[in-house]
Amino acid sequence: MGNVNVTVNGIEVSVPDNYTAMLAARQAGVEIPSLCFLKDVNEIGACRVCVVEADIKGVPMRNLPASCILQVAEGMNIRTNTAKVRKAVKTNVELILANHNRECLTCKRNQNCELQSLCDELGIDQVRFQGEKRKPTIDNLSHSIIRDASKCILCGRCISTCRDVQGIGVLDFTHRGFQTEVAPAFDFSMRDVDCVYCGQCIEACPVAALTERQYIDEVFEAIEDPEKFVVVQTAPAVRASLGEEFGMPVGTRVTGKMVAALRRLGFDKVFDTNFSADLTILEEGTELLNRVTTGGVLPMITSCSPGWIRFCEMKYPEFLPNLSTCKSPQQMFGAILKTYYAQKMGIDPKKIVSVSVMPCTSKKTEANRPEMEVDGLRDVDYSLTTRELGDMIKRARIRFANLPDETADSILGEYTGAGVIFGATGGVMEAALRTVADILTGKDLKDIEYNAVRGLDGVKEASVVLPIDGKDTEIKVAIAHGTANAAKVLDAVKAGEKDYHFIEVMACPGGCVHGGGQSIVSAQVRLDVNPKANRAAALYAEDEACVKRKSHDNEEVKALYNEFLGKPNSHLSHKLLHTHYAPRKVYECQA
C-alpha cells in the first residue's frame, strides 16, 4: 500500500491509496456531508449527499462522483465547496425530504437525527418539492423494535448492518419505485421474523424509521404509585454510554452520576445488574465445572445475551443443549429481587415493580418470555434502554453533569470488577476464568487479567491449564461477538474443526457496550471514534479501580448463598436462576 498525493479544496495531502475521497478530505480538514454512508458497513454511494467535483491530473471526472466510494488516485483534485456541488447536494436532500414524514417536533429522533442535522447544515429553509408522501405505517407488534416506514429514507444502513455485520438479513428493499420500502419479507411484522432484536439496525438508522419500543410512561406511572415499590437495576455497559445522551464524550464512565440520577427519578431502590453478573459467574462457573467433570454437554455456551439465545433457537437449535441453563443477569436479578429481597425486607413481592436499564433492545423481548417468572411474578416488569433512561432524566429536568457521584444501595448493589466487564466482549469469559481458576487451584490467584480474551477481533481463542481432579487439563475457550461471528464458531464446532470447553457469545459486535439500546453515535462521529473500544475501556478502567475483582469475593452474593440459595446450582438456584430453551419457528403464516 503506497501513498498518493491529492488536493482537496486547494489543500495538498498525501493519503494511503486505498482511501476514499471522503477520508482524504477529512485528512485535509474538510468534512463532507453524508447520509447513507456508514463506515465499513454501508458504503454504496446511494444517497448522493457526499458528491464532489473531481478531476485527475486535469481531466475532469464525469458528473459528480460520490466521495464515499471514490477511491483516490495520484493527482486527484477534489472540490467540495463549489456552487455546482452545493446546489446538487441541496437538491438531493430536498428530494429526500419530498416524501419524508417531516414531523420533527414529535419525532423520537428530534435533535438526534442525521437528516435533520443535514438540513440545518445545508441551510434548507423550505421544501420545494411537494408531492405524495409515504403513509405513516407503524409496526409495533414486537416487544423490542418499532418500524415506521414513513420516516425511512431508504439509505440501506439497517439492511447492510443486519445482513453483513450480523449475518441475518431481516430487512431489505422490497417493491420498487415510489412503493419501495425497507421491510421484512412478505410485510411480516418484526415480531414474526428471524430478528434477534439486537437493535443494531436502530444504531445504524440515521432517522427514526427504526426505534425501540419504549416503556418510559409505564415506569414513571409505577414510580408515582405509592402502593408500588419500584426497584431499578442497571447493566454494566449502561454506565459507559449514558453520559453520551448528555453530550459527554463517547465512552465516558458515569457510574456515580447514573446512580444519583436514578435516586432523583424516584426509584425506591437503586441496585446494579453487576451484582447478578457476579451471581451468574458462580452459577455458570459451577455449571461448567460440573459439565467438565461429569461428562456433560460441551462446549458450554454462555446465555447472557438474549439476542444470541434467540439466534441459537432459530438458526442453530442443535446447540440448545450446549447453552448454559443460567438465566441472564437481568432475569436472575429480578428473580432474586422478588424472592430473597422481598422476604428479607418484608415487602409483598406483588407490590415490587422490577425495572431494568439495559444497553439492549433484545432484553425487552427476553423480559417478556413467558417462562421468565417465578410463581406468577415477572422477573422483570419493564426493561428500558440506555436511551430511555437518558430521556427520563431529561424529562425530569435533572442536570446530569452537575450530579454528585453516588453508590448503589445494599443488598443487591455490591459488585466486583468481574461483574463490570460483562459489558465488553470477552468479559464474561474473563470473569468466569477468574473464578474457575481460583476454585480449581484452591488459591487466590493474582494474575487475573486475561488479555487474550479482550479486544475487538471477531473471534478470539485462548486456553488455560487448570488442575481438574488433580490432573492438569487444558481448558480451551472461544469468544465471538456479533451473530455472524457466532455462526462461524458454531459452524467450525459442528464440522469438528474446533473443539472448545466454553464459548462466550454476545449478539452485538463489541458486546453489550455496543448494544442496540446504547446512545446512538452518528456516522460522522464514528469516522473518528470507535464506540466499542472507548466504552470497553471505560469498563476495564472501572474493573481496575475495584478492590474486589473476582465474583466469588462479592460479600452480598456470599450472603445470598448463605442465607437463601444454599450453594450454586442448588435446587432453589435451579428454580429461580435457571431456564430452558426451545427451537423457534419464524415466518409462519398466521391466517
Binding site: 403513509k135 405513516p136 416506514a149 431489505d172 428493499f173 420500502e181 421484512p184 403464516c589 391466517a591
Partner: protein
C-alpha cells in the same frame, strides 16, 4: 395535518404495511391466506426439482435470479413457502429474495389466472380508446388491474405496446390477439370463449 398513523393495519398473515394493502386490496376472498398455505405442500414434487436445480448451480453470488425464474416457471408464482424453500437452500436471506421477487414484474407473488389478459395501453391504442376497453374488462371481470378474478380464471393487466397498432385498440388473451375493439360490447363474447 399529517394523516393518522396506521398502526399494524392491513395485516396479511402477520404482515403489516403500505404494500400489503396495495398487494391485497384486490383479493376478493380476504379470509383466504394469500401466502397460499395448503395450496402447495412440502411434499409437492416441484420442490425436489427446484432443489436439484439449485444444486446444479454453483453456490456463488448471483444465483437468486435464475433460481427465482426457475421457481416462477415451475410453480407459476412465488408464495411464501416457495421463497422460504429458496432461502433455506441458497442461504440468501428471505427478505432479499422477497425484495428481488417484488422488484421485477416477471415474478408473481400471488397465483396468476388460467388466462392472461393484456390490454394494450400504447399510444395508438390509447388514442383509439383502450381506456374504455380496460374499464369494460374491469366491470365485466369485477377485478382491479393487475389482479386475478376470484375464480382464478383471468388475470387482467395493462401492457405497453403490443406491436399491432393497425388493430388498435387491441388486447391479447394468452397468445390470441383481439383487435379493433372500439365496440366494447364485443368483450363479453370474447371472454366467453375461455374456460
Amino acid at each position: 395535518m399529517p394523516e393518522d398513523p396506521e398502526v399494524n393495519q392491513n395485516r396479511f398473515g402477520t404482515g403489516v404495511g403500505n404494500n400489503t394493502q396495495r398487494r391485497l386490496g384486490n383479493v376478493n376472498d380476504q379470509s383466504k391466506c394469500a401466502c397460499s398455505c395448503g395450496c402447495i405442500t412440502a411434499e409437492d414434487p416441484r420442490f425436489a426439482e427446484l432443489k436439484s436445480y439449485i444444486d446444479s448451480l454453483n453456490q456463488e453470488q448471483g444465483i437468486t435470479m435464475p433460481v427465482l425464474q426457475e421457481a416462477q416457471r415451475s410453480f407459476g408464482y412465488l408464495p411464501l413457502e416457495v421463497q422460504k424453500f429458496i432461502s433455506e437452500n441458497t442461504g440468501v436471506p428471505l427478505a432479499e429474495i422477497y425484495g428481488v421477487a417484488t422488484f421485477y414484474s416477471q415474478f408473481a407473488i400471488e397465483p396468476k389466472g388460467r388466462h392472461h389478459i393484456g390490454v394494450c395501453m400504447g399510444t395508438a391504442c390509447y388514442v383509439k380508446g383502450s381506456q374504455k376497453v380496460l374499464d369494460k374488462l374491469v366491470e365485466e371481470l369485477k377485478v382491479k388491474v393487475g389482479c386475478t378474478t376470484s375464480d382464478g380464471k383471468f388475470t387482467l393487466e395493462a401492457t405497453r405496446c403490443l406491436g399491432c397498432c393497425g388493430l388498435a385498440p387491441c388486447i391479447m388473451i394468452d397468445d390470441d390477439v383481439f383487435g379493433k375493439l372500439d365496440d366494447v360490447s364485443r368483450i363479453p363474447d370474447i371472454l366467453g370463449k375461455y374456460e
